[in-house]
């Protein structure tokens, strides 16, 4: 073998080893129960303090959506999800959990704004506003101010909103959402679970089929 080939292969090998080592070191610590990655139990997906899109005390099924406010696909799913809430809201509990992707610069701040609004019982209006205005703030250098403006327009208590945004517990809750998603095998946004089963999303019908099956179960 020439040195040309030897050095090239060595570089590729070293690169592969480094990537494998990082993967190994940073793999999420999944409890053995959820390690299958194909879904989570409804318990781990629906925590008591998770954001809810509707109030359905008599729900016989649960839909959990993991989404990122800055992800364009989530923005396109947003009106569909609202329509489904209209359609199934009496029988299905809709839960929203945050999965902000690091490559979206303002996704984390948007998730925090949503959570701060949730603390005041105004999650759904903030959620609607964030998705509807996605294109306006995605590349904004000062998204936090934009979101504070929304909070004001939605009639939130701004002092409480500012306190929630600054509270490390709010960021920790977003992280907990993301960790729960990773443990359940979320591989992109949006990812939807119906009664703990991941729905393979190709069309709206995939969701309605899963919901129909769940409510008649």
């Amino acid at each position: 073998m020439t040195r040309n080939v030897t050095i090239s292969l060595a570089a590729v090998g070293a690169f592969a080893l480094i990537v494998a080592a990082i993967l190994f070191a940073t793999r999420p610590d999944t409890p053995s129960g959820a390690a299958a990655g194909a879904g989570g139990t409804t318990d781990t997906l629906v925590t008591a303090d998770a954001a809810r899109l509707n109030d359905a005390p008599n729900a016989s099924a649960t839909l959990v959506e993991f989404a990122d406010f800055q992800c364009p696909a989530c923005g396109r799913v947003h009106p569909i999800m609202n329509q489904l809430v209209q359609q199934y809201g009496d029988r299905v509990q809709f839960v929203f959990r945050n999965f902000p992707l690091p490559m979206h610069r303002n996704a984390e701040a948007a998730a925090i704004a949503g959570e701060a609004a949730r603390a005041q019982g105004k999650f759904v209006p903030m959620y609607d506003r964030l998705f509807e205005t996605q294109a306006d703030w995605s590349e904004s250098a000062d998204a936090a101010t934009v979101f504070r403006g929304y909070a004001q327009e939605l009639g939130l208590d701004l002092a409480a909103y500012d306190a929630a945004v600054a509270d490390p517990a709010t960021a920790a809750k977003i992280e907990a959402d993301t960790a729960a998603g990773q443990a359940a095998g979320v591989s992109g946004t949006p990812t939807i679970f119906v009664d703990g089963e991941k729905v393979e999303l190709r069309s709206v019908q995939d969701i309605t089929d899963a919901l129909d099956a769940a409510v008649t179960r």
Partner: protein, 216 residues
């Protein structure tokens, strides 16, 4: 080189070239014509497809391009950014023109053509501009747009070796000190390309780590 190459040299003896010079300069005279022909063709196909997808998207804003697989691997979002029309028109139009020249050069070399120095210099200059532009697009794609476009990555992947091996061939063709530099590098000609690819792959891995690790 084998006798057919020598025969070809006879055949094209009218083309002005230094006596005894091989038809294809550089460290890999057999490989370079194929690299230019096949690599250029891949780039041409990618650029052509991107242009067609862009037109489809103009006709129907709701159209989902064939390469929009998910939020990370998506050319629909990439091709609608201002960076996708850097000179005021869609970038792939440049690719269609430029890669056609690369394919033609490769095919001509395969046919036994000899090119004068100025042709090699021009090809290197064009490839260098291509490399600079491609790296601008890599940085934009990774750090500003936040999505990878599969066809664009084909262009990245072929532009780098086309530039590098064209540069080595051109240095060799020019002779003298330039040839000495090329000869010194030639023993390790693949190493810069491999390291270059690994660097870009590493940056893409790092940038979209959550996405890649979730695939496992």
């Amino acid at each position: 080189m084998s006798t057919p190459a020598a025969a070809r040299t006879e055949e094209f003896a009218r083309v002005p070239a230094a006596g005894g010079e091989p038809a294809v300069p550089g460290p890999l005279p057999r490989f370079l014509p194929w690299l230019l022909a096949v690599g250029g063709a891949l780039g041409l196909i990618a650029a052509f497809t991107l242009t067609v997808e862009r037109i489809e998207l103009l006709l129907d804003p709701g159209y989902t391009p064939s390469c929009s697989i998910n939020p990370v691997l998506s050319c629909g979002s990439v091709m609608q950014t201002p960076q996708a029309a850097f000179f005021g028109f869609p970038n792939p139009l440049l690719g269609i023109g430029a890669f056609a020249v690369v394919v033609t050069t490769g095919a001509a070399l395969l046919a036994g053509a000899r090119f004068p120095r100025w042709w090699w210099a021009g090809l290197t200059a064009g490839a260098a501009l291509g490399v600079v532009f491609v790296h601008y697009l890599i940085v934009q794609s990774l750090y500003s747009i936040g999505a990878l476009c599969p066809y664009c990555m084909v262009v990245w992947a072929v532009t780098i070796p086309i530039f590098w091996y064209t540069l080595l061939a051109t240095l060799d063709r020019f002779g003298g000190g330039a040839r000495a530099v090329a000869a010194r590098v030639s023993g390790y000609h693949a190493v810069p390309v491999v390291l270059w690819f690994l660097l870009v792959a590493g940056l893409a891995l790092q940038r979209f780590w959550t996405y890649w690790s979730s695939l496992l």
